[in-house]
Symmetry: C2
Subunit: 329 residues, 2 copies
């Protein structure tokens, strides 16, 4: 691929600055309720930041197809709201204490209010999407949300158990790649693109989402608490086997497998320490394997948009996968 066709971070930011600011405003506007506690929780979640990568994808998808309608702003806010709703419910389920370096919302407001705040955010997202008066947009969003919720339930069923790669990929598709895919598809849907173009952009989102989540899972194993804004190795502590761990399980010695099995079953590092697990993963090249897999999906994402006309947005889409795989948080 021609190096000159890939944008820089600065160019991408310049390209999207106004739209991202508009989405931020729309997100804030949509999160105001006449029930004070909802507004409080929603504003807290907005202020918590996050990478806004889902709206960014939607914007780039729409821009790559030449859209300038307000729909991209509204739906950009919608995908971020849906993402936020899933985080609120996930934090209840995972009994998370922190999220992005701050107390999680359930710690501050309690589970009851956060169950309902999550429900409200889902409904608000659908309510905003409904203003588009586009059934296809609603089909995409409702089906997406159901797949995400099912994924989270499947995840709970598998906690503490050894899973294989196929199960892992199904889980991360539902957890992350599915919303990346739909964000890209929505960008196409608002431009009334052909099914083929929408599918192609969706494929970019799916590949990018898989790469993104694999990297997220690697960082959970290898980064520090200061960088992550949450305790390290929380996946293992919650009984979740991710790609590097699955790789080591399949290649490790009996003792290696037993050590990993123990941590997953105990959901703690009391019997086997975090450095011991990292040593096992390093010995089998499991971290590299996971990162190589992420990079392969990143490359597949780039390939998915190869046929698009040459635009700034396309150059930005070619930049995103490298950003995703090289980030450290």
């Amino acid at each position: 691929m021609d190096a000159i066709s890939i944008a820089t971070a600065g160019e991408v930011f310049d390209l999207l600055r106004d739209d991202l600011a508009a989405i931020e405003q729309e997100f804030a506007r949509q999160s105001a309720s006449n029930v004070a506690v909802i507004t409080d929780i929603a504003q807290y979640l907005i202020a918590g930041g996050g990478k806004r990568i889902r709206p960014l994808l939607l914007l780039l998808s729409a821009k790559a197809l030449g859209s300038t309608s307000h729909s991209r702003i509204r739906l950009g806010a919608v995908v971020e709201m849906l993402h936020t709703a899933t985080l609120v419910h996930d934090d209840i389920i995972d009994e998370a204490d922190t999220r992005r370096g701050r107390p999680s919302s359930n710690t501050t407001w309690g589970n009851s209010k956060c169950v309902l705040a999550g429900d409200w955010l889902y409904m608000q997202a659908f309510s905003a999407a409904l203003e588009e008066r586009n059934f296809h947009v609603l089909d995409l969003l409702i089906s997406l949300t159901q797949q995400m919720v099912e994924g989270e339930l499947l995840q709970i069923e598998k906690l503490g158990h050894l899973i294989n790669e196929e199960e892992y990929f199904d889980l991360i598709f539902r957890k992350t790649a599915c919303l990346f895919k739909v964000s890209m598809q929505l960008g196409a849907a608002v431009t009334h693109a052909t099914d083929e173009v929408e599918a192609q952009l969706g494929e970019y989102g799916r590949n990018l989402g898989l790469a993104f989540q694999i990297v997220d899972d690697v960082l959970d194993l290898t980064a520090t608490e200061e960088v992550l804004g949450k305790p390290v190795a929380s996946d293992l502590r919650e009984g979740k086997a991710t790609l590097a761990v699955i790789h080591a399980l399949e290649r490790g010695t009996g003792a290696d497998r037993e050590a990993i099995r123990t941590v997953l079953a105990d959901r703690s590092f009391q019997q086997v320490t975090h450095p011991q697990i990292l040593e096992i993963l390093k010995r089998h090249g499991s971290i590299e394997y996971a990162m190589d897999t992420a990079c392969a999906y990143a490359e597949a994402a780039r390939q998915s948009v190869a046929d698009l006309p040459e635009t700034e947005a396309k150059r930005a889409l070619l930049w995103v996968p490298g950003f995703v795989t090289s980030r450290d948080r």
Copy 2:
């Protein structure tokens, strides 16, 4: 009103038997997921029964306007699914042990799975409603769900506090009457009735829903555990003041007010017993006041459909309010 124009229970059941059976089938079909635990929870909730009063209202509303389309079956299942979704999340919030005489779903499956099962039921309801390809239907359902969720949050905010009648009526509108209203409106929407007719039928639902919830709240105070299928006076135990209690608070002596205040603040009958509270309510005629209020709303419901053409469905609509106010569970 002419006595002869009101149906009997047997006539209503004959009129709706086939449709209610079809809704039961549709509800079961819609509740099957490829994620086993969702199907388990959903089937458990369906088997738990419930009065199916929301689908019944939707059917009568549609029938009163001459509809025979499949939409009434599909949307009948949708309103029951939405109702079920709110119950699942409410049981988590109220930390309920029992529901309709059986262990509540959260007791059996735990909070995490039930948060997600509730989410899934919401999405499944919207997904089914989306098949109608009718934006007005979706507007009604999404706005309804948001109002219900906000109501539950407002309820939490007011737990343990004294509230006035206005606050009480806002809460029971959101908790119950809002879905009754929308069930009636949906019956009109699928027949493409005029806005005026839809509003009239909605008004019937609102009045009936208020009557229904006032009676529910009275039964919580006065019925026995065997009849209710859950502990008596659970509202007071959860810190919820309902209409009869609010009436007694406004008319009681200082000692009466203090006794009620204590139970609400303690959320238990340790300092003041349930019979003591019942004595206060009886002394001030508060139970009668609440029942009279319910009967007035029931009558208002009947008046709301007075202008409808004379049909079997109209006669049934005239029967429902009396059924609602005279039930003992």
